[in-house]
């Protein structure tokens, strides 16, 4: 078993915290691991990535070869596109759909998300929406950790232990926010996939998820949503245009 993950984002978004959680979970699980990261100039708001590899056998390269990556995990949607040529044919993308716009030529967001949604093995979560609900916009990185957790080789407890460890220094409140962010991410990722697996278009699924109250998310409600949207073509737009969030149980 070997897993190769590229963590992607923008300097300041907390990629290295994401790496910390996986590194320590890998060490606990008795895996070998290597994790190459970016320090220096790019950390000032530039594109940053980290190559993270864990395995039950010795790992050679710190860098992941093209075509050998199992997952691109992005805290920012545009950043996925910088690295998806590293993915194996059956590799996964787990991404935030919340754009971080600090450049003048940032693409139109819905075009960008449509392009991403065409990738079959994808999990899309609105990290901005979920982190805000968890209590702090800065916890978007932990939302993405949660969103991956069904695809990796660690249990919820193994990961949460290190989410807590990472923020312990900053006090109980911050720990609680990040725990929640992780759990919301986990639930949102599963819900998104359940929608897509029940036949909903990934772009629409991502849009719908960004309007659902995170505390109500549960996969058993997904199929009913697909049915509902099929019967009522205008429903999604109505929800997107309304100012308030809906329960996963139904509008």
């Amino acid at each position: 078993m070997q897993k190769n993950i590229i963590l992607a984002g923008v300097g300041g978004q907390g990629i290295l915290s994401v790496a910390y959680v996986f590194d320590n979970a890998a060490l606990d699980a008795g895996f070998y691991f290597k994790q190459a990261e970016v320090h220096g100039m790019a950390q000032r708001g530039g594109a940053v990535q980290s190559n993270l590899r864990y395995s039950d056998a010795k790992i050679h390269s710190d860098l992941i070869p093209e075509g050998r990556c199992d997952m691109v995990l992005a805290v920012e949607p545009l950043e996925v596109m910088r690295y998806w040529h590293y993915l194996k044919p059956d590799g996964w993308v787990v991404t935030s759909i919340t754009p971080f716009v600090n450049i003048p030529d940032y693409p139109e967001i819905d075009t960008l998300l449509t392009d991403l949604a065409a990738f079959p093995n994808i999990v899309m979560v609105d990290t901005g929406h979920l982190a805000r609900a968890a209590g702090n916009l800065r916890s978007q990185n932990m939302v993405t950790v949660g969103a991956t957790s069904n695809l990796l080789d660690f249990t919820e407890e193994q990961l949460l232990k290190h989410v807590e460890g990472l923020f312990a220094r900053k006090g109980e409140k911050i720990v609680a926010v990040n725990r929640k962010a992780f759990l919301y991410g986990r639930a949102a990722g599963a819900f998104f996939r359940a929608l897509v697996d029940s036949g909903l278009d990934a772009f629409k699924a991502a849009k719908l998820c960004s309007k659902i109250k995170p505390e109500t998310l549960a996969v058993e409600y997904a199929a009913a949503w697909v049915e509902r949207l099929r019967n009522n073509g205008a429903l999604l737009d109505t929800i997107l245009e309304s100012g308030s969030n809906v329960s996963a149980e139904g509008p």
Binding site: V10, G11, A19, D23, N24, L27, Y32, F33, K34, Q35, A36, E37, V38, H39, G40, M41, A42, Q43, R44, G45, G46, A47, H60, S61, D62, L63, I64, P65, E66, G67, R68, L78, E79, M81, R82, W84, H85, Y86, L87, K88, P89, D90, G91, N102, I103, P104, D105, Y106, P107, F119, N121
Partner: protein
């Protein structure tokens, strides 16, 4: 024995602590900074290791040499271009030799992730006639530190440990051993060896050359230089590039491989390999040092030598598993997606609220009466002002070069000659050209961006900020009327432009200090 998750830099730092160092010296510089910071953090509580950033790499190296003279083990660390600054002390320390073990950890930056060039420090080791270790992973980095100190003391010679960005900033778990005790104070009394007057220097230099056969012997026998003969296609890999090679090979491959991680180059092992193979691919990150050495001027008879000079690998830039795969002639691995084209780039930029933004907005306006004014600048966060939207500075060469270059341009008749330099860069390399310009009464304007910290490398302590900076500037003998202090804030914009214009109009040296703390450093404290 315990296990820790460590960056390559941190593994070097921990290795040095466990080798019993009494001090660490350095000046920040990506990708070396975390070596010093790790030692500083780890030893703070006991306070038994001297750890205080130096003004520049030359100072750091000289301090380290002094500690070695006193009989203690010492680590000095810097980035590759830092060794240019320390080169005078470095080269001569090989001639004096050392007393307590002295190890230089220098981090190169192939691919120039955060640097002006990708010079290869192995040439410096060869130039100074000293041994060099080049670890392939974090564990070996840790282990090599203990060896490097032993070697330094056994042969009374400085030892280099060469890192590159990819190992410096990559994490893995490392098994560690019990720390050795520090050396007692034992100053060297061998006056002749430390006093490099020509008569002594000749003797010392001869000693240094006489150490070479022993260094070579150690390289030949080193466990870090592994030779495995299989088929008639050969590969030499240096340092961590071996990992990229192994990544692409199965256990039952038929290549003959020499992995070099200790220098001088183990000539006998290279010869054995060359005699065994018909073609030889050389893989090294940095310059083609081993490649050019092995090929020589005219090539080898009977063995084709391939590498960066023959197009199998690019001449410049960092290697990776894919480039090595291509050089081995293996097919590309199928991927889920093709590379994106025309993707919007996301270059680094100044932080929101950064004081430099306000300083350069004012400078841009102050200069708008000149036609296409060029501003000499330097290295730090403020270099990002070269990019849009500010596009305020037009050079970045070497620490302190802004002032020297502005002076030279002024001598040539260029006006306005403006230099923009950060506070830490000023203490590193700006004081001497400033003194020179004032003493020559050059017509130049120096903008010192005093943000109270070394911003670019992670907000380390700056040596010349606030009062200390003002005193240094006045100490050059400059007319105090032409030393102005401004507060770079949007609300002071007009006033700051006015002050800058006044000083631009002055015929003679002037200094404007733009003083406001870096946002990141305020957050951190």
């Amino acid at each position: 024995m315990s296990k820790e998750i460590l960056l390559g830099d941190e593994a070097i730092g921990l290795g040095a602590i466990h080798a019993g160092i009494s001090g660490v010296y350095g000046y920040p510089g990506t990708p070396s900074t975390e070596i010093f910071e790790f030692i500083e953090r780890k030893t703070k509580k006991n306070g038994d290791v001297h750890a205080f950033w130096s003004t520049n790499e030359k100072v750091a190296y000289e301090e380290a040499l002094g500690m070695s003279w006193a009989g203690k083990r010492v680590l000095v660390c810097m980035k590759h271009v830092g060794l240019n600054v320390a080169a005078d002390a470095f080269m001569n320390s090989a001639v004096t030799g050392t007393n307590g073990g002295l190890v230089l950890a220098v981090a190169d930056d192939p691919g120039m992730h955060s640097s002006q060039n990708e010079q290869d420090s192995r040439y410096f080791a060869q130039f100074a006639l000293i041994p060099c270790f080049e670890p392939k992973n974090q564990q070996e980095g840790y282990d090599m530190m203990l060896e490097a100190f032993e070697l330094s003391e056994a042969l009374e010679i400085p030892v280099m440990v060469r890192l590159i960005t990819r190992i410096a900033h990559s994490r893995s778990s490392v098994d560690t051993v019990e720390a050795l005790p520090q050396n007692p104070l034992n100053p060297s009394k061998e006056i002749k060896r430390w006093t490099l007057l020509p008569n002594n220097a000749r003797v010392q230099y001869k000693h240094l050359t006489e150490k070479q056969p022993e260094l070579l012997k150690r390289s030949e026998n080193s466990v870090h230089n592994e030779l495995e003969l299989r088929g008639t296609r050969g590969v030499i890999s240096c340092g961590l590039v071996e990992n990229y090679l192994r990544e692409n090979l199965d256990e039952d491959h038929d290549l003959s491989i020499l992995s070099i991680r200790q220098y001088p180059i183990p000539a006998e092992k290279v010869r054995t390999l060359v005699e065994h193979v018909d073609e030889l691919l050389i893989l090294e990150d940095g310059y083609p040092l081993v490649e050019n050495t092995v090929r020589g001027l005219f090539g080898l008879i009977g063995t084709e030598v391939k590498g960066r000079m023959t197009g199998e690998l690019p001449r410049t830039g960092e290697l990776n598993p894919d480039l090595v795969r291509g050089a081995l002639g293996l097919p590309k691995i199928e991927a889920a997606h093709s590379p994106s084209t025309n993707l919007a780039l996301r270059p680094p930029s100044l932080c929101k609220g950064c004081p430099h933004t306000d300083s350069f907005k004012a400078l841009n306006d102050a200069l708008n009466t000149f036609e296409d004014p060029q501003v000499f600048s330097d290295i730090g966060c403020y270099t990002l002002a070269a990019l849009p939207p500010l596009e305020a500075v037009h050079s970045c060469v070497a620490m302190g070069a802004s002032i020297g270059m502005a002076a030279g341009a002024a001598h040539a008749g260029y006006s306005p000659a403006v230099a923009a330099i950060g506070d830490s860069t000023f203490s590193h390399g700006g004081i001497t050209p400033m003194l020179s310009a004032v003493q020559q009464n050059v017509n130049l304007n120096v903008l010192i961006l005093d943000n109270d910290t070394v911003g670019m490398t992670g907000t380390q302590r700056s040596m010349s900020t606030g009062r200390a900076l003002d005193d240094i500037v006045h100490g050059t003998g400059i007319d105090p009327e032409h030393v102005r202090i401004i507060l770079p804030l949007p609300k002071h914009h007009d006033q700051n432009v006015k002050i800058m214009r006044e000083e631009l109009a002055h015929d003679g040296p002037s200094v404007i200090i733009a003083r406001r703390a870096c946002i990141e450093s305020i957050k951190g404290h």
